[in-house]
Amino acid sequence: MRSSRRSITDLILHLHPRSVSFSTLRFTLSWGLGGMAVTLTGLLFLTGILLLLVYQPSTDSAYSSVLTLTREVPFGLWVRNIHYWSANLLVAVALLHLLRVILTGAFGPGRRLNWIIGLALLVLLLAANFTGYLLPWDQLAYWAVTICTSMLGYIPLCGEWLQALFRGGSEIGPSTLANFFVLHVAFIPGSLFILMLWHFWLVRRAGGLVQAEQGRAERSPTVPDLVMREAAVGLTLVALVLLLAMVWNAPLQEQANPGMSPNPTKAPWYFQGFQELLLHIHPVYAVFVWPLLGGVILLAIPFWRGSSLPSGVWFGSERGRVAAIWTAVAGIAATFGVILLDTLVLSSDAVAANTLITRGLAPTAVLIVLAVALYALMVRKLRYTRAEAVMAGLLLAVVVLSMCTVVGVWFRGQGMHLVMPWAQGAM
């Protein structure tokens, strides 16, 4: 008994250091978000294996196998719901984790590679979510994949080739489902597993979580101090997911019908911010130029000297906190303002002759000029540090995307017109 307990401790210490800094145990430093993501991934693996036993990846039988699962297999509905809720919560948790890393200065020197791996993990789990969305082959799935693969067509030079590659042909059909099935159950989970282990190992190599500079850091033993806390967060989360899965069912619409797009056709919630962007911006910019710019900026930002906040302190300082609050408020107001302006004033005009410029180049130029001007204002005039300005910029981007998502989820009704949430019975 004693020796087996010992070996469990040893196993834990393989993943964790023997002791951790006392200050990093504080829940409000990390909110346990990384641990939550691991817990949800575990739930997804387990329920995914069960689902795999029932699901049939062909266009003829996919939908009926999901129906069998939910109607006949004991606990089948619950297992599917657990998988669904874990996946959706995982997106939310991962985004909050990213925000936490930005706001506590956890991408500076020593953590740069891990920031990049973290971004790759985010892309992978969005891909995992989206490929899973397609598998039931219902109306939601069919039109989501139609839109998504059509987006690939706007990428310059290799767009058409990519589109044919992902569709497995020129049209959506059995090959498309096979492609997404393989991605969902083999390629993405495998890559996730490898990158996650690398992610954890790099956290450990960087000396654990970020902590504020201290003269003498107190250490606590990992077993039991850290492990107990992890177990408490993990088990609470599992209980929450199981409960959610009992109360709310994962959506399943009618079987895919290539002749009729439902009205309105909406993307899954984590892409609705993006869908909102597609309503306003020329597709080449919304699909290619902006994501490329955003990706390059995110990848490059840790390599800009002094771009990371002082580590382990939320918002860097009290001044940073105030700046963050104002940024968030301004971001919310600006997003709603621009969407209203574009919908009510600009769109009602006759279609402009060259949308590539009016709805692509011009907004992009305005954004870049605004970003540079705001940065100069914060750093030169208001004497904020570079790190605080970068933090405000990243926070602004997150807030704008979140608000676009809110508008997409609750304020878009039939024909994608703006409506009040209570008018369409969505709430």
Binding site: G168, I281, G415
Partner: protein, 172 residues
């Protein structure tokens, strides 16, 4: 490690050459393996691409007699997945029902007299011209022929167009 160095000193000229040759051979075989695997992957995927492109056995479909379509109406032709529009001047235009923005299926709104996309809110008039963005170009169209008073549409390949021109319309 020590043994290694002693053999090297024993044959000072041949060992580095042999090592260099073997290293070069490894690199060559590694590259060959990568090429083979790449070729294998691309051929595999290309075959699937070709096979799942549907061969339309019958590319000409019959929409119906000319009199069936009133001027200034739009009729859905389900077997061709298209809309047959008869313009106010009596000319015919066969429009793809796929939105040029991101491929959603369009619905003809009789009351408003326009095509409306349920995904991103683009709209088009009866001739397929864009009324509201984000759609970047007019609806694709198919060649229409009128033989003995019967309207026929060739659905082999949709034709992309940048703007509406009178030449696209088939007149009786």
């Amino acid at each position: 490690m020590k043994e290694n160095s002693s053999t090297e000193t024993a044959t000072p000229t041949s060992a580095p050459t042999r090592r260099r040759f073997l290293n070069w051979a490894w690199a060559f075989f590694g590259l060959a393996a990568v090429t083979e695997l790449g070729w294998l992957g691309v051929s595999f995927l290309n075959f699937r691409k070709d096979r799942s492109t549907p061969a339309r056995a019958k590319s000409i479909i019959t929409a119906g007699p000319v009199d069936m379509f009133e001027p200034a109406t739009v009729t859905a032709i389900p077997q061709g997945q298209l809309y047959l529009a008869r313009l106010e001047d009596g000319g015919f235009l066969a429009l793809s029902r796929t939105c040029t923005h991101l491929g959603c299926s369009l619905r003809w709104d009789e009351e408003q007299g326009k095509f409306i996309c349920p995904c991103h809110g683009s709209s088009y008039n009866a001739a397929g011209e864009v009324l509201t963005a984000p759609a970047p170009r007019p609806l694709d169209c198919y060649p229409v022929r009128i033989e003995n008073g019967i309207v026929k549409v060739d659905i082999a390949a949709p034709q992309k167009r940048q703007c509406f021109e009178p030449g696209q319309v088939t007149r009786v």
